[in-house]
Assembly symmetry: C2
Homo-oligomer: 413 residues x 2
């Protein structure tokens, strides 16, 4: 059995959500815990109710809409993503995964298909982390990565407590923010947020894992001096050290393996004047790989370069690890469900790794997870210009639906 | 005849000037055209008057205190520097050159020494350029490098016109801001503003020239992308290009010659976020050498590297030359006068190039110039921590005095 979701309804539903917190630039301003977030949640609850699902909200605001299965006491299949956005984000990021899951349930309803297992559609709280870090907060609390009180007590730039804001919008729910039972699997559909599918001509991304990530902040402390009167050999130039570090970071993917991505995204110079030798440079490194051993080696190489370059230029250095996230390889079962669906639909799929974190990162500690990527034009993400064609939205939603159906097991073939 | 200026009086005079606009941190806040500048000028006029000199002020506020020579119609010897300071500068920069020249005249008076040529002590207006760029403004106007009306019409951060401020402090003088006659020579005593003398154990710097300088601002335009989801081969990383440029700039002194100094002092990144590939980087280059041919070759190499590195990373680049100043080699006559004085006094002198610009840069287009450098502890300059020991101030002042005496020619041996 192959199902094909109603394209027109899917497009209409995407447009409905895009109108909530929509910006003049065609994007979304729907920060977690805002009034726009409340409206998107109300809308989701109404859509779920219309589709015959029962909605529960947990103590961190994560929303679960449940369609019962035909067989009692079977582990449910969980599907979804998030409805919050970046301050000026696009209309697909997060929403596509929630709408796609909703369309799957609607399609089951329309065709009167029962599944042996329950199906739950989830809207995770605050995936973006723009107002209250970290990103993937709601799924993180749910999966036990963050103690809920720590997150409740966070304040935004205006000093507003997260828990108060959650209560204010009426979504501090009554059930515990923990998995109420075992889950059979979790599938998340998401725009790729990168250019790989488009550049390679693939139609759907079959995600096999999420890269591990290490962030560091490096401080280089040299000495400010006149750029004209200080001979080169007497300098302690922090920016020269930084340039060696940037070059070493750039070189990782060419020396350790093709899947390593490594970036110096932020760099500031003090005093930052044309005729003063740079005294202090702070820069960040972001290294990602699906292979934990390669990731560790990459981080070691960067640290070795920082120390060696700093020594060459008589500059002091300090390296602080600011974030670490383990690599996650998805199990065959979920990857194959996605691949079977892609092949069954006749789409050109491509097995690939997710370079960014997603709610699936945390859910992976609760049950088997899988992900489907939709094409992102030019890889643009976290911008109002984010774009996935309706055709690509439809294809990826169909893959989600058929993979979900396989995992939820049709009660009657 | 060797003269030795009165050390106690020199120290007392340095302390007098340091009290005008002195900061709690032991430095100076004596911006050009400020009330503190007016007080320093009034003080200088009084000191010059006390020493029997006649003061004239030109239309740009440059102050010339003249001691007549024994022989009519001889070209005067000009000595001096500037009394304005950086916002939080030290007490030696500029002031030492004016006080040193004043002490020379006082010593001539005390010992009733007549010189064949007139001696003029000059206080140049706004050498620092902190409030109204450019640096070396008064000497530049005087020497014809800048049309006076262009400079008059400049406004500071509060919108105040330079000419109005000059009138306000009462120093828009009556004589034209041009050389009224030919000059025999100009000598300027200045702290080194670099560590060379201290590091090499020399006591006095015998300056043989001022480096040429080229400044550029380079803009690198890449593309912002997610640091996790964008494969390395699809990136347009402006900061990677910048790192290659910094390395190339660092390498100039090791490939073109030991006297080239080259600096990337300022660099800014947009959007400057740990997990976004840098889109736009602006950086400055500052290249200096005493040899114009080497300087040109250095600039060519930097430009070639910008273009090559930008091409490698698919980043657009733009190079704007923002400042250019020719190298100046001092004539033997003035250099030898300084060297003779140093040797005659038994000091350990060192022939060296000035890596920074000075009023002498502009005066060099009017007459032969020479410079004397005093030791700068740790090379610190443009900071309240600037320090030259009184012993070093005294030595350098003695060199100025004896070189000036040789050039002004004692009327009676």
């Amino acid at each position: 059995m192959i199902i094909n979701v109603d394209r027109d309804r899917m497009v209409a539903t995407m447009k409905q959500q895009a109108a909530i917190g929509g910006t003049d630039g065609g994007g979304l301003h729907r920060l977690a815990f805002s009034d726009a977030d409340r409206m998107a949640r109300d809308w989701f609850a109404e859509m779920a109710d219309d589709a015959g699902m029962v909605v529960r909200v947990d103590a961190f605001g994560n929303m679960f809409a449940r369609r019962e299965g035909a067989v009692a006491d079977t582990e449910p299949v969980l599907l979804g993503s998030h409805l919050d956005s970046q301050p000026y984000g696009g209309i697909y990021d997060g929403a596509l995964g929630v709408v796609g899951a909703l369309e799957f349930v609607r399609e089951l309803n329309d065709r009167s298909i029962e599944t042996r297992r329950p199906v739950e559609v989830v809207n995770w709280t605050n995936e973006e982390g723009s107002r209250y870090p970290p990103a993937m907060q709601g799924s993180g609390v749910w999966a036990g990565a963050h103690p809920i009180d720590d997150e409740y007590n966070k304040t935004d730039n205006e000093g507003l407590r997260l828990e108060d804001e959650l209560e204010r919008i009426g979504y501090r729910g009554s059930t515990p923010a923990t998995p109420p039972e075992s889950y059979h699997a979790y599938l998340e559909l998401h725009p790729e947020q990168g250019p790989y599918l488009e550049k390679t001509g693939a139609e759907v991304g079959i995600v096999t894992g999420i890269v591990g990530l290490r962030w560091a902040e490096i401080t280089l402390q040299g000495q400010a001096n006149h750029s004209g009167t200080t001979p080169m050999e007497f300098r302690k130039d922090a920016l020269v050290v930084a340039s060696d570090v940037i070059a070493a970071v750039r070189r990782l993917s060419g020396t350790l393996g093709p899947r390593t991505v490594a970036t110096v995204g932020s760099l500031t110079v003090e005093p930052n004047s044309v005729n003063i030798v740079p005294e202090t440079v702070k820069l960040t490194t972001d290294v990602r790989d699906i292979d934990s051993a390669v990731l560790s080696k990459a981080v070691e190489r960067v640290e070795a370069e920082v120390i060696a370059a700093a020594k060459r230029e008589s500059v002091a250095c300090d390296i602080e690890q600011t974030m670490s996230s383990p690599a996650i390889e998805f199990p065959n079962r979920t990857v194959e469900a996605v691949e079977n669906a892609t092949n069954g639909l006749g789409y050109k799929g491509h097995r690939m790794i997710s370079g960014g974190g997603h709610d699936a990162t945390h859910v992976a500690s609760v049950c088997d997870v899988g992900m489907i990527f939709a094409v992102s034009e030019d890889g643009k993400s976290h911008t109002e210009d984010e774009y996935t064609s309706w055709e690509d939205c439809h294809r990826a939603t169909n893959v989600l639906a058929n993979a979900a159906l396989e995992l939820a097991e049709p009660a009657v073939e």
